[in-house]
Symmetry: C2
Subunit: 381 residues, 2 copies
């Protein structure tokens, strides 16, 4: 009875049906509008607004220009081909582009996205090449006592072949989860394109969830409505690194992998770079290729886990049978730049040989996508 009464109240406050179907029959034109020369025009309708700003990639925050017709617009030129994220701020209120249904979530920020690929060769774009499959799979992690979700990319042709494939383990950063390397990192498109052009070997890419307190990305785990967060319980204290063999064992039993050091790579961004550094140093016989993308070196207290003890000794030992590629990339403006420079000094002191790539920009996805493009081409050759 109480329930019926409450339902009645809801019905009472209902107003006539809202048409949320705006644009349903509209032509499927891209928004924003991208010209052949690569210029990108943003347009938003806000007749009564005092100010409308465009925020793109969380870095460029620019005032849009009022047009005569109640619209505001802004054209950007010279952007490099890549994935971009943006939103508007109308009189201070964050507003998404209602003409663009493509959105992505970066930590807890929902933004619109688009691909800029004016010359048709951006490695982050979908091209007319054979596509690999991407699966959300649940694996057993006995050491964490739970089933956990991860994404697995299998290259085009995997399903039809009897071949065995090398594996790249690709780890996310703080605030990320098992979905970010495909959603924001464009891992599937990058691998599809590099493999199709012969610039990368066909490989399996395994993208686990590095937050050991959650079985899956916020919303796909048992706590249905939990929100993404930057810092987790059991955060960078060794548990993930110690449980990593669960992932490798599961992958080697469920996929046709080549189970040997020279066919196994590990790479990660930020926290995932930190994970990659320590996992590979603690398991010197497992990874022939190591990629540290803006790694969060020295960000956390040491001494929390034996995983982090004696790292110099472990690195020296690891390099006795040196990984074929030990690759580091960082942007000049990255807040982790100094820590990375210190780490390089440590490697240099012991004459451990590595590849160093310094880019512009800071701690951001445009760098990590670029690093994956470079690193993937070095693997398994």
């Amino acid at each position: 009875m109480k329930r019926i009464l409450l339902l009645s109240i809801i019905v009472a406050i209902m107003t006539p049906i809202v048409s949320a179907q705006r644009g349903m029959f509209a032509p499927a034109a891209p928004s924003p509008s991208i010209a052949r020369d690569g210029s990108v025009k943003f347009t938003v309708k806000a007749p009564g607004a005092d100010t409308v700003r465009l925020i793109i990639d969380s870095r460029l925050d620019t005032l849009m220009q009022r047009q005569g017709n109640g619209e505001w617009s802004m054209t950007l030129r010279g952007l490099k081909p890549d994935l971009y994220m943006y939103y508007y701020r109308i009189d201070g209120v964050k507003v998404l582009d209602d003409e663009n249904a493509q959105v992505a979530n970066d930590v807890k920020n929902v933004m619109n996205k688009f691909i800029l690929d004016p010359s048709g060769d951006c490695p982050m774009a979908v091209h007319d090449v054979p596509h690999g499959d991407v699966s959300a799979v649940w694996y057993d992690s006995p050491s964490l006592g739970m089933k956990r979700r991860m994404m697995v990319y299998t290259p085009a042709g995997y399903g039809e072949s009897r071949q065995r494939y090398p594996v790249l383990y690709l780890l996310h950063g703080s605030g990320g989860d098992e979905t970010v390397w495909t959603e924001l990192g464009r891992a599937a498109q990058i691998l599809d394109n590099l493999i199709a052009s012969g610039n990368a070997q066909p490989m399996i890419v395994v993208m686990p969830n590095g937050n050991v307190d959650e079985p899956a990305v916020a919303g796909s785990g048992p706590d249905n409505n939990v929100q993404p967060t930057f810092a987790h319980k059991n955060w960078m204290e060794g548990t993930f690194e110690q449980s990593f063999n669960d992932i490798m064992t599961w992958v080697d039993t469920h996929y046709r992998t080549r189970d040997a050091k020279r066919y196994r790579a590990i790479a990660g961004l930020s926290m995932g770079g930190y994970h990659s550094l320590y996992i590979s140093a603690n398991q010197p016989d497992d990874f022939g290729y190591v990629g540290l993308f803006s790694p969060a070196i020295s960000r956390m207290d040491k001494g929390k886990s034996k995983i982090y003890d004696d790292i110099e000794k472990k690195l020296v030992n690891q390099f006795k049978q040196r990984p074929k590629v030990y690759w580091m990339g960082i942007g000049k403006d990255d807040f982790l730049y100094k820590d990375n420079a210190e780490f390089r000094k440590t490697l240099d002191k012991h004459r451990l040989s590595y590849t160093y790539h310094e880019s512009t920009r800071g701690h951001e996805w445009t760098n990590w996508r670029e690093y994956l493009v470079i690193f993937a081409q070095l693997l398994f050759k």
Copy 2:
């Protein structure tokens, strides 16, 4: 040089870095706030606004109440456990909930979403049960001359077993694509829960893209920035139905299926119900189970394809070796109600026996999720 100049202009209009990182370290509390009794409290900060409205499921449009602290709030009670989508309208402008990173796109409407599961038994929620995997795979469609993307659910245990499984082909409606049955239809969670409780048989669920002019959902196909649209080229004119064998052949060669009529089901919503009706009538030996969820019967011109010719004769023939379940569901308020009643008259005229389920509400996801819950329990028994 020109490029450098243009880049300089961009840099010149740059303002100091925006902190898009708001809430990154905030506790991962759900938004909206859901109490144990199932009441749902929405809160939005908009100190300067004149009106703030909450629009939920595109049906309930209600004025929120101004609080003393610049916040507006609204508490809803008596909602049934389900997935909900909502957004705000602040002085007329559509605004997403900045505290909720979970969003979904329905046709071209991006909204926030949450799961309401106060008693922990909503079949649309993630529960602590074994989870099946969901893969985005690219299959070959020789009759359409392209590789196309579809989603495939394999039940928990599939990877470890040698067993063969029955298959449900689950089709989307107009404006949908291969992702909507998992994103909005909660097909994976519904099947996980029903299989775990013993109420449904373990089965493979294949969710193809029914828009034959696109290889994949807007943004995952070669036209990277194309927007979703309601009506497509080659829309409900027989091409999809005629190409359906490509999907079945691919699935039967790539998965451990039970390749026989009594182990094969087809169901779909709206346009997908129309597809299911005609595919099963034209292939009477293939489907032991047929589900028409608010099917878009008689919405399109007939005579466009031999697929649509002589449907009464085909149905009579199909029912000579009657599908074990021929199931129809529709809401009392559905704009297709009358067309469906006409279709039932046709079935009755020929004494073709079917199961009819009439629900409240209209042409909407809450019905289609409910129909899947009912239909999945009838299959392969």
